[in-house]
């Protein structure tokens, strides 16, 4: 940022761009906005235009119809549970990888990103094979009366799988940069280790943890590929909202599909806003300059 020395109190209209010697501003910004509009902004705006055809009453009727209502509830409910599980285990994993040393740490650290790299359809069929009645994990859970595959529980499992790296990768860098001196100060002032962890370390990484939670939640709500195989897709029971969009499209109910999509879009935009605010908070908390 160029520092402009301005007398306090005087109002200056900010120019769109500061003068700079760097070339290519018009070309690069023009191309960026053109391509962004063409691929992302105009198509997305189309969803809202199409939904507007329905009118408020029409949208309300679609969203509150029992099947859509159940699907939205499942998508958001399961995503909330999965994000909570991820916050707990993601924090644990980030903690262990930052603070402790053990054999194979570097290699195992790389595998945390597996859910990012593994195509969702592959994750979906693999999880289904593991958790179905005769699968490696399912065969031990079934006698206990726990059915995972083809139930809402399966939806939670798939969403937890794909969301884990979001929490770990957001918390890890903040935990690495946390100042050890603060912990030493707390200890020297007589705090027990538990007090230091809960009152000194946790508050410092809370914004990052919440960002990770929000990212993992947002991803889980929209997730399709890894969920549909394990969910069983029973209407009203284990049918997620994205699948319902596809079913409505296949029935040529474009308006209905778009109404569900618009509802999900609005909610994910709100999530995006929250994530941005959390990240800004996180930056001020950790005292970073940018």
């Amino acid at each position: 940022m160029t520092a402009l020395s301005v007398a306090p109190g005087s109002t200056v209209i900010k120019p769109l761009k500061h003068r700079s010697v760097m070339p290519g501003f018009g070309l690069s910004l023009g191309f960026t906005i053109f391509y962004l509009s063409l691929i992302v902004l105009i198509p997305l705006a189309g969803v809202f235009l199409k939904t507007a055809d329905l009118g408020w009453q029409g949208i309300w009727n679609v969203v509150t119809s029992p099947r859509v209502d159940a699907a939205l509830r499942l998508s958001f409910g399961a995503a909330a549970i999965a994000a909570t599980l991820n916050a707990i285990f993601g924090l644990l994993i980030a903690w262990v990888f930052v603070r402790y040393d053990f054999f194979g740490k570097k290699l195992l650290d790389a595998t945390i990103d597996l859910p990012f790299a593994l195509p969702t359809a592959v994750a979906g069929i693999a999880l289904t094979a593991l958790y179905s009645g005769n699968g490696w994990v399912g065969q031990y859970l079934e006698p206990l009366g726990i059915k995972v595959a083809f139930t809402p529980l399966g939806v939670v499992v798939a969403m937890t799988f794909i969301g884990l790296p979001f929490v770990v990768r957001t918390v890890q860098p903040v935990l690495e940069e946390a100042e050890k001196e603060l912990e030493e100060a707390a200890a020297s002032l007589g705090a027990t280790r538990w007090q230091t962890v809960t009152r000194v370390i946790l508050p410092a990484i809370l914004p990052a943890l919440m960002t990770g939670y929000a990212l993992s939640f947002a991803r889980a709500v929209g997730e399709y590929g890894s969920v549909i195989f394990i969910a069983g897709n029973l209407p009203m029971k284990s049918e997620i909202a994205p699948l319902l969009i596809i079913i409505k499209l296949e029935e040529f109910d474009y308006a209905g599909a778009t109404a569900v999509a618009a509802t999900m879009l609005v909610i994910s935009f709100v999530m995006l806003l929250i994530i941005n605010l959390l990240q800004a908070w996180s930056r001020t908390r950790s005292g970073a300059k940018k």
């Binding site: 969803v47 199409k50 195992l108 195509p119 969702t120 592959v122 069929i125 778009t258 999509a261 999530m271």
Partner: protein, 304 residues
């Protein structure tokens, strides 16, 4: 009481041998008791193994369940080969498009200062927060038979939906932010000093870009390409909406996996899936290699 205090233990006053031993092991007040450390580590590793690695292992076990012969038959089958070819074609178009966009957008955002910069950065990230299914749907609304451009397209006998252009568009959408969001923080941190030096020595804009900026960001660019490619080849939801699932024609590898799976042809489904899993492993391997070797030349913030 005349004995001098000769038995004083001096080891406590020895300075810690810093370069060789991590301070945290020495400094008992800022770590936990051993049993706590062991329990937490075990829990974390069990969760990683059981939840992340077990599914990966099961892909390969299921793929070879009916023997090596059946595995290679499934991969060499005509529709599978067509799916592999289509997936590569789509990624070969989509990834370069987003590389060009990513570099140009990062140049505009990091090398210049202008208003609404933060808004633009947020908008570039937008596709990440859109459900893959909705990403496909938006193109159905435009190019579908009932869509805005649909009638005109069918009049001119040009197919976008249920054909390769639609699949490419959906893939470009879902992989849109990958390169840009890797480059923006990296180029932000690098600043414009190198470029200004080159300019003052008489280089023109293109020379600065190709000889100064590109060499500075090459590893970050490669990193972005890797992630972008992995997602482009593995995308399922968005592509599923626009492809029409025509075997041998508009079936990408992930879609082929789904078809085989729904036909209860499990070992063939897992065989094709194992190729995608290998791609994921390769991506992770190269990504880690980049992080270990060129960590400083990548974006400082490792967020996805």
């Amino acid at each position: 009481m005349s004995t001098p205090m000769t038995t004083l233990d001096h080891t406590l006053q020895d300075p810690p041998k810093l370069p060789f031993e991590p301070l945290i092991q020495k400094n008992a007040v800022i770590t936990e008791a051993r049993w706590v450390r062991v329990t937490l580590t075990t829990l974390a590793l069990l969760f990683l193994l059981g939840f992340l690695l077990l599914p990966l292992i099961s892909v390969f076990v299921e793929a070879f369940r009916n023997g090596v012969g059946a595995y290679f038959d499934a991969i060499r089958e005509e529709d599978a080969l067509a799916a592999i070819k289509l997936t590569m074609t789509v990624s070969l178009i989509a990834v370069p498009l987003n590389v060009v966009f990513g570099v140009v957008a990062a140049w505009a955002i990091t090398k210049h200062s202008f208003r609404f910069k933060q808004l633009l950065t947020t908008l570039i990230d937008l596709p990440f927060s859109v459900s893959p299914v909705v990403s496909g749907l938006i193109y159905v609304l435009i190019f579908g038979a009932q869509g805005w451009a649909g009638p005109w397209l069918s009049e001119h006998n040009f197919k976008v939906l249920f054909a390769v252009p639609g699949i490419v568009l959906a893939t470009v959408f879902v992989t849109f932010p990958f390169v840009a969001r890797e480059l923006i923080p990296l180029m932000q941190a690098q600043g414009t000093d190198d470029e200004q030096a080159a300019l003052s020595l008489g280089a023109n804009g293109w020379q600065v870009f190709w000889r100064v900026t590109i060499p500075n960001i090459r590893w970050g660019l490669l990193y972005g390409v890797l992630l972008c490619n992995a997602r482009a080849m593995g995308e399922f939801g968005a592509v599923s909406v626009v492809s029409g699932h025509i075997r041998g024609l508009t079936n990408t590898m992930p879609l082929h996996v789904e078809i085989l799976y729904n036909e209860y042809n499990f070992s063939a489904a897992f065989a094709v899936a194992s190729l995608l899993a290998l791609l994921a492993l390769l991506t992770l391997g190269l990504k880690s290699l980049l992080e270990w070797r060129h960590g400083e030349e990548l974006a400082a913030t490792r967020k996805h």
